[in-house]
């Protein structure tokens, strides 16, 4: 899993880093606007007259903007709503959406490993596409049709300002789009929930569903039923029936605790509780192993063999994890030297850097990845503070690269260590070794009390013992997590977003609607663009222009990839020649005048292509679908950034629309 859509910058960081760029763009837009206005006016009225006309328009714009009446704007907005409803675009969009959902189930594979991702992607992409097209259609035709049918006179003969005409339309269409989007969001949520909900029964007697149906786990730690590995402390096993293309292994786990240890938090799944001769207590608990990204809650009624077992609905699909990411990630090579990036193992994606586990000659490889966390306090873990959990959940999504086969049935081992940062005494915990689980979100419960050593500033060992993760290791709110690969000749891949503490979960429904807020932002920009363009272009051209922006917005990464200097195959002409002559993409073309000319023209074309990507807003900043797909909470900072971008775009486009309308005969 590569979740690249993580931006670790806060709202303030984003704003300050973009403010200068924004200022330059605004200044350039003003200069360009005035220049274009002057040129157009000069063609009509001559160069001297044009100067006065431009000055007059700019002069008039100030009261127009300042005296824009909300009442009149709302009146125009109401008109826009009525007009859009009359056009039935909204109805058709909703009908297509409904039909898509009705038949969508035909194409969705519920037996996938992560059906939740497929369902969420489907509804988000469908909604996004339909809403943007709808926004494009209602905004592109409105003004040009009014002008063509001369119905615009009924408005402009009234004391209405051009700002109100443009802004009213944007708000009206926006309000309608918002209502439709809300409806779609609610229906999509129900569709996803309905599509993923399912129940299982235990294999065996469907009536009794008791522990008697279970069989003992043999000594080889593999399921007698499926041959797969079972949990470490499993003593009995069974499996569920197959529903939605999957089944679960159900195990009875022996959980032995000393009398001083806290009791298990979840007592609903305890099937037997026995006090052992040495005084320890054995809790036999029924657990459902995860399959296809979810598990099921177990409720045990009664005790022992006669206890009946009930499996609840799916748990784990609808998550909105709140991660606490590291502030920085630093790689160190085998010799312990700091490196900007980890080792590349030749993967196409450079998302992760790799650390190595040494080899038989360098058994103590110093290669490691260091994550530094800031503001690491117990208050950031509400479930820990409330006593709901006694451990700190650490989640990892590590990649593994093997350079030799090794023991095929054993996963590569990684090691974790916690260290204090910037304290007078240096706390270093003992290494916690664990088996990695590639392509899955792996949760490690880190106990608050960790055995470790304390060193002085000079590196002298002061004492050893058990120290508190928050009060000792992260006494100043800073914590270092060191990740190492513990198998020789094997590598671990990691990125900054791969190792995080899970603070808790946000309500999924809220997160789902935040995801739709991203689509709302895109819709508002498209509507604003459509209205702005329609003030000076005909309806089909406006539609085409808006469509081009949508396409560029969707494929900007692809286009930028094509225009990057290291893109194989060259520019459009060179590529065409390679296609016709069936030349390899990485083989250099023969040097000569022809090649130089081709490369020169290609360079120009590539620049033009690249420039087009700046015409459209970066939809990836406004797209939160990855958060929903992979089950992460969309933080408020991200939403605030998206909303700010949207407001800026809408305002900018309103101003463009205003001036364009003012320059038209009709607006005078």
């Amino acid at each position: 899993m590569i979740f690249e859509n993580q931006d670790f910058a806060t709202y303030l960081e984003w704003l300050t880093s973009n403010l200068l760029q924004f200022g330059i763009v605004v200044a350039a837009a003003i200069v360009l606007g005035v220049f274009v206005g002057y040129v157009v006016s000069a063609l009509k009225h001559g160069p001297f007259e044009a100067f006065y006309v431009v000055a007059q328009v700019i002069g008039q714009s100030v009261p127009d903007f300042l005296k824009t009446s909300p009442r009149r704007t709302m009146a125009i907005a109401r008109l826009a709503v009525k007009e859009a409803l009359r056009r039935k675009v909204i109805l058709v969009t909703f009908a297509i959406f409904a039909v898509t959902l009705l038949f969508g189930g035909w194409f969705l594979n519920s037996s996938s490993d992560h059906p939740d991702q497929i369902y969420v992607n489907f509804v988000l992409f469908g909604t996004q596409l339909l809403v943007l097209l709808m926004g494009m259609l209602i905004s592109s035709f409105s003004l040009p049709d009014d002008i063509k049918n001369k119905t615009i006179y009924t408005v402009v003969t009234k004391p209405v300002r051009a700002t109100e005409v443009v802004l009213g339309r944007i708000l009206g269409f926006g309000a309608l789009g918002t209502a439709l989007l809300l409806l779609m969001a609610v229906i999509s949520y129900l569709f996803v929930w309905r599509g993923l909900s399912h129940d299982h029964l235990l294999e065996g007697n469907a009536q009794t569903q008791s522990i008697a149906e279970f069989i003992p786990v043999t000594g080889n730690s593999r399921s007698a039923k499926t041959g797969q590995r079972v949990s470490e402390n499993a003593i009995l096993e069974n499996q569920t029936n197959t529903v939605a293309g999957h089944f679960h292994l159900v195990e009875v786990i022996s959980d032995i605790r000393s009398p001083n240890d806290p009791e298990p938090i979840n007592k609903e799944n305890i099937v037997r509780q026995t006090t052992l001769p040495d005084g320890r207590i054995e809790y036999q608990r029924v657990v459902v192993q995860s399959a296809d990204g979810h598990t099921h809650r177990v409720t045990v009624d009664g005790e022992g063999d006669s206890a009946s077992i009930q499996l609840g609905s799916a748990v784990g699909y609808f998550r909105a994890r709140v991660p606490i990411y590291a502030e920085s990630l630093t790689f160190f090579d085998r010799q312990g030297q700091e490196k900007a990036r980890g080792i590349s193992v030749g993967k196409e994606s450079n998302y992760r850097g790799y650390i190595d586990g040494g080899d038989y000659r360098t058994r103590s490889s110093l290669s490691k990845a260091e994550f530094t966390y800031e503001g690491f306090t117990p208050s950031r873990f509400p479930r820990l503070a409330s006593g709901e959990i006694t451990v700190v959940p650490l989640e990892l999504t590590l990649a593994v690269f093997r350079t030799y086969k090794g023991d095929i049935e054993k996963r590569v081992t990684a090691g974790l260590q916690f260290e204090s940062v910037g304290q007078d005494e240096r706390f270093v915990s003992d290494m916690i070794d664990f088996e990695t689980n590639e392509f899955a979100v792996q949760t490690l419960p880190i106990p608050r009390k960790l055995v470790g050593k304390v060193f002085s500033v000079d590196g002298e060992l002061l004492r050893e013992g058990e120290y508190d993760l928050f009060d000792d290791y992260a006494a100043n709110g800073q914590l270092k997590l060191v990740l190492k690969c513990r198998d020789y000749n094997q590598y671990l891949g990691v990125a900054r977003g791969d190792v995080y503490f899970r603070s808790g979960d946000h309500p999924y429904a809220l997160n789902f609607f935040k995801g739709y807020a991203g689509i709302w932002c895109q819709m508002m920009i498209i509507i604003s663009l459509g209205v702005a363009l329609s003030t000076f272009l005909s309806a089909p051209i406006t539609m085409l222009g808006t469509l081009v922006v949508i396409i560029i917005g969707f494929f900007s990464d692809f286009i930028q990839g094509m225009t990057s200097p290291d893109h194989a195959g060259g520019g459009p002409i060179e590529s065409a020649i390679r296609v016709v002559t069936q030349q390899n993409m990485v083989y250099d073309m023969d040097t000569g005048v022809a090649t130089t000319v081709i490369k020169f023209i290609d360079g120009g074309l590539i620049q033009m292509l690249n420039a087009t990507t700046y015409m459209a807003p970066d939809f990836s900043t406004l797209n939160f679908s990855d958060f929903l797909t992979y089950g992460y909470a969309i933080d408020g900072q991200r939403v605030a950034i998206a909303l700010t971008l949207t407001v800026i775009f809408c305002l900018g486009l309103t101003i463009v629309g205003y001036f364009a309308l003012k320059t038209r005969e009709i607006a005078k």
């Binding site: 690249e4 194409f107 594979n109 490993d113 041959g227 089944f247 590639e438 392509f439």
Partner: protein
């Protein structure tokens, strides 16, 4: 002037109308009467579509989901396909494998009858994606996903055996030959869910064995479906005969080989090889054709050589037997020695089997020296007989072509080796030899190298109470020696490799026990042959042993010419 646009539109309409008429004739669908007999064969397009099996109903089952997707793309199917391929590649690059799979499913809904899409992408899932996972259980799961994906393509391509062939190939090779084969086959045997998922195509009982459900036998069933499609349903065959008919029988042999690695040798595995032998011989007797139009059977080499001999005899009778002898003598000048010449001049029926083999090889050598020898001989026929001679030469050339094809194709599929191997593995003596080797390895794993014995001090006699691994290995090798000697093809290939591994362990044990390599080691020929072929097994060859003996004699001052048996005595000292 104002009417011009209107007139233009009318002209367009008329043109459209005129074009519709021939189009309607070309596309006219076939009609059938109530009894299902064809009343009208339909237009040219319909007939062509029918002839090449291109109508949707013939190509595949009509799937509403697929048809809806095609319709929904509003004629932009090509664009949609391109976008989906790009998306699939992006998901693969970003390792979002679930979304890759979902994209592939959408892709195949749009291109359901494009076999290469199914093959390529299923390979992507079963091979490329599966190996990305560190955990072998996930790998196994992705191999299954590749297979399940490919199986979805079967109803869409019900007249194309390449899909079922690929499923057979993936099933056999991924589960049975990959690095994880041991784990995969164990998971496969326990995987009831996968069996049920495949049950609509392959009956789970059909690949159930006393050792559990077998992946190789399942692969056999998939190839069986391919055979049925071609032989019974008359579907087009997309591979050469040699390859198409080879796949199915190979799976049984592979099953036997896999079982040999997984379980102790027994009658069940012997029975599997017996079945493999029958299937392989059936394949050898199957009439095959190649692209040059040569029809042959892999078992037909001896018969073809007999026919060649017969026609050559006819030709010799026509031109006189001395012509060939003279020409061969000329050809053999400087190539043949006296012994060779004598062999060539001796009538075939008077030759011993070994001499007959040598003669055949000699003739082949000579024939290779001059491939037009028979034509030259025919040219020396009398003018009256020349026509007949030329006809005989034509027959000879055809047979030579057939022999060449048989030899080439036999080599490609390693026919003779597997024929011998299957036959030998299905014999009791081989099972006993395997069991002996297995018993020796078991004791070796217990690190018991030397014999355990009781020594009676009174009678000074030793009674072996338990044989050590060294003795057991030697006994096992002695059992293998006659098997290899009577089937020399087996010196090469997998069995030779397998035995050499045991011999290496035996060598290590000798070193550990401070004992010398025996002079009369039963599998010495195997070591020597492999050494000659450039294998670096690190085992003592006969030449090395002789040198060692000579060195020792020199050291001990014994004239080796005096006593040829001094080697064993020397070792005993």
């Amino acid at each position: 002037m104002n009417n011009r646009p209107f007139i233009r539109k009318i002209i367009y309409l008329v043109c459209i109308g005129v074009l519709i008429i021939p189009l309607s004739f070309i596309c006219l669908p076939a009609t059938i009467d109530q009894e299902g007999n064809a009343e009208n064969a339909g237009g040219v397009l319909s007939r062509l579509r029918d002839k090449h099996g291109l109508s949707q109903a013939k190509l595949s089952e009509i799937d509403p989901a697929s048809e809806t997707m095609k319709l929904a793309s509003l004629g932009l199917r090509g664009v949609a396909v391109n976008i989906l391929w790009l998306q699939a590649d992006e998901h693969r690059k970003n390792q979002n494998y679930d979304q890759l799979r979902a994209t592939l499913e959408a892709l195949t809904k749009i291109q359901p009858s494009f076999v290469k899409v199914w093959e390529y992408q299923a390979h992507n899932l079963a091979y490329n994606v599966s190996m990305e996972f560190d955990d072998y259980e996930y790998r196994y799961s992705w191999v299954k996903k590749g297979l399940s994906f490919l199986k979805q393509g079967v109803p869409y391509n019900k007249r194309d055996h390449r899909v079922t062939d690929s499923i057979g190939f993936f099933t056999g090779n991924k589960f049975g030959k990959s690095d994880e084969k041991e784990s995969f086959r164990r998971l496969f045997r326990a995987d009831d869910e996968f069996r049920q998922a495949m049950a609509d195509r392959i009956d789970p009982d059909s690949y159930d064995t006393p050792y559990g459900h077998d992946s190789w036998k399942m692969a056999y069933q998939w190839y069986d479906i391919s055979r049925e499609m071609v032989e019974v349903q008359g579907c087009d065959q997309h591979r050469s005969d040699m390859m198409f008919y080879m796949f199915r029988p190979s799976q049984i042999r592979n099953q036997g080989l896999a079982l040999q690695e997984e379980f102790p040798p027994d009658q069940i595995i012997q029975e599997v090889f017996r079945g493999a032998n029958e299937e392989w011989v059936d394949y050898g007797n199957q009439k095959l054709s190649n692209t040059l139009g040569v029809t042959f059977t892999l078992e037909g080499l001896a018969a073809a050589e007999d026919r060649l001999e017969r026609f050559r005899k006819q030709l010799d009778e026509l031109v006189g037997p001395e012509v060939r002898i003279e020409m061969v003598s000329e050809l053999g000048e400087g190539v043949l020695n006296e012994e060779d010449r004598l062999l060539l001049e001796t009538p075939v029926d008077q030759l011993s089997p070994d001499d007959a083999r040598k003669t055949r090889l000699l003739k082949k050598r000579l024939a290779d020296l001059d491939r037009r020898l028979d034509q030259k001989i025919a040219r020396s026929a009398k003018p009256d007989d020349r026509k007949e001679a030329n006809q005989i030469v034509l027959q000879i050339e055809e047979i030579k072509q057939e022999i060449y094809t048989i030899n080439k194709d036999s080599e490609t599929v390693n026919y003779q080796y597997w024929r011998t191997r299957n036959k030998v593995e299905s014999e009791d003596a081989t099972v006993a030899a395997h069991q002996a080797l297995e018993a020796a390895e078991k004791v070796w794993r217990e690190s018991i190298y030397d014999d355990e014995y009781d020594f009676d001090y009174r009678t000074k006699t030793k009674t072996v109470t338990r044989k050590g691994a060294i003795t057991l290995f030697e006994e096992a090798f002695e059992q293998w020696e006659p098997l290899l000697e009577s089937n020399p093809e087996l010196y090469d290939g997998q069995l030779g490799d397998r035995l050499i591994e045991s011999v290496k362990e035996y060598q290590k044990m000798l070193q550990f026990a401070n004992r010398e390599w025996p002079d009369n080691f039963p599998l010495q020929k195997l070591i020597d042959l492999r050494f000659e072929k450039g294998e670096t097994d690190g085992l003592p060859t006969t030449a090395y042993l002789e040198q060692r003996r000579a060195d020792r004699m020199e050291l001990e001052g014994i004239d080796e010419n005096d006593d040829s048996n001094s080697g064993s005595e020397g070792e005993g000292q």
